[in-house]
Amino acid sequence: MNKRYLILFTIMFSHALLGATLHRGLGPEPDSLDIHQAQGLPAIQILREIREGLTSFDAAGNIIPGVAASWKIDEEGRLYRFKLRNNARWSNGDTVTAEDFVRAWQRALSPATLARTASLLAPVVNAQEAMVGTTEPADIGIRAPSSDTLEIRLDTATPWFLEVLAHPVSYPLHADIPDQPSQAVVNGAFMIDQLTMHALIRLKKNPEFHAAESVSLDTVDYLPIEDPSSELSRYRAGELEITETIPAGRHDWLETYLPDELQVNPYIGSFWLGLNLKREPFAGNPKLRRALSLAVDRRIIARLVVGAGELPAWSIVPPRMGRYQPQAFEGSDLEQQSREMEAKRLYREAGYPSGTPLNIELRYNTSSQHRKIALAVSSMWRQVLGVNTDLVNEEWKVFVNSRRQGTLTQVFRGGWIADYADPTSFLDLFRSNNELNTTFYANESFDRLMDQAMVLEGSERIERLQRAETQLMKDMPVIPLYFYVSRHMVKSTVTGFEPNVRDIHLSRYLEVENPNP
């Protein structure tokens, strides 16, 4: 009897002592844990767990105050004044001060740092000049009037700037910057306990974090697993509670056998085929571009070709971007059969009567998924319009170069995952002066609408952006195919996992039952 009590007691007690551990998949190994060198999503994810900026995210991915307790934005939207919370501390107990932000931003924008994501800070006064070395980093528009007040000046109003402040590139830095970034003092909900490359990043709760009492987990084990199939095996073997993704082609199986654990949700990403408007046959031929777009059956692409819950895309901007209404192209409300009739009509009008078929090249970066999509699209074009399509695949580094130069490309794989959840993240790509505009689309009225939207606010701004997208979809420099989704497996023992379009799920909001001792 006594013995049994003792065992029971030990079990209960050891659980209470050890606390809960969550095991999460991370995808590839992070490229750097230095806030100014990190580029890839895995690195950004770890940095969001161990550090915090002026703003942060709640469990549903909304922007909330982080190190800043409150802020005021002036009427023109160009001056931000932040009041820092008085209980924001570094993991060594030091207070997080406004100077820590000034120091970090000067480092981010100094040419010596070569910060890879510094362009997110481009709206800040003198930021672009500092990056290329024409101004001293000390002259950028960030100032600390007192140790708990921070002032940021922007060149133009930037409605998504509060989200930029939640990105690692704008985080504060402690005065001591060690050579090995994983050993740095941090200010987030967790801190690095153990790091084995390609095997484990173990985070432990940071007791100095200002909301530490609301953090349930004591340990978070992030496992870098590059291969989604291996990740799924380890999930099924009980070694992970949350996966980073699911393997392509396993969606249906998982939906049948583990439907309660499968989390597929809309994501701020868009997949399209770009058309090079600098070259034949697309230059000055909007009818041909629209014909090719209408001839594609997006439902088949989304459901059968990519097939993991992706949504067919009738616009460039995905849904769920605040109050913005995506502007579908003309003909999207028709039946596919009528769309194909319309496609044939436009194709003829574009100068391709029957008997003289169009020969084009579709270029994509090597991946079995992209190949499947390219095959499906080219066979739809052949069936509906009789177009002959050559598929050309290139390895990623070669592909991005040929796409940027635009001397070889005709039709090419394109797409975008937003840096911030705002329609401009997508629409800006099609400004005539944007170097990411690989279609070389240039329309004055589109550019003008985008410029107008920059200085407007609220519904007026949204109206201009919607008109810009309408114009874009009329000119059809790209053929939207589908919207990305985020895909995770989440064990039923995990609570607090809230689906959101940014796909940000900070561990500070998660809880796990039955802690693994």
Binding site: D31, V132, S230, K397, V400
Partner: protein, 309 residues
Amino acid sequence: MLRHALGRLLGVLPTLLMLITVAFFLMRVAPGGPFDSEKALPPEIEANLNAKYHLDESLAQQYFRYLGQIAVLDFGPSFQYKDWTVNELIAQGFPVSLTVGLLAMTLAFGVGTLLGITAALRQNTGVDYSLMGLAMLGISIPNFVIAPLLILLLAVYAGWLPAGGWDGGFASMVLPVVTLSLPVTAYVARLTRGSMIEVLNSNFIRTARAKGLPEIVVIRRHALKPALLPVISFMGPATAGMISGSVVIERIFSIPGLGSYFVQGALNRDYTLVMGVVVFYGVLIIILNFIVDLIYAWLNPKIRYDEKR
């Protein structure tokens, strides 16, 4: 023996230099560079980056700079994993690959020779046929089929072993070691059987048997050594291949070894990482082949006597 060793050792340097040269220029011939990505960097920043990594110098300058670095065993910083130097990456990855590789090698040679000898002694019987049949299967079924099967059976369904990962413990080594050793075991078994049969049919074995020696002594003292010669010469490159890390095994079992750096480094144009791993691997193969040569000379009197003459 010593002269033989020294002669071989001197031959190593030109081989190594050739390897470095070919790898260096092949890497640079590949289109695209380490900083190419979807978003082009502002030209000023790209110029700064190129200057930092000396990519703004002429190719010849870079080549000789690299040779100078290698001479002091400095492989430089990694482009892709910016927090680490290539030396640090190799220092972290190699012990893991070495552990897995050596264990797999020991398993493969132990089990492989045993099976091969057994099959040779029972030549053309059911035992021989079934062992060689199994070995054929082991050679022809690729790792990437066996590994997921084993994971599914032993980790997902039975739950006896972890499905992947690396904590340095015994349990996490079992599946990768077994998977890695299977094809080598099979190959060694077939190799051993073949040469054993050949040796058993040779004149000196007939003499030994005629002298009335018990079969076990004939095999242990007279047949084993010559029969293992082809296996030994296979062992050099095989060991190098196994301890330098297998991309497939490392990916499937998420093991933090060296193997993945080859592919990842090449795809990302991580010049320093690829070069570092190539040079490291090259030195490893050369050293192992050298050791095999020495063992071979020790086992095979013909080579020793040729040298003395």
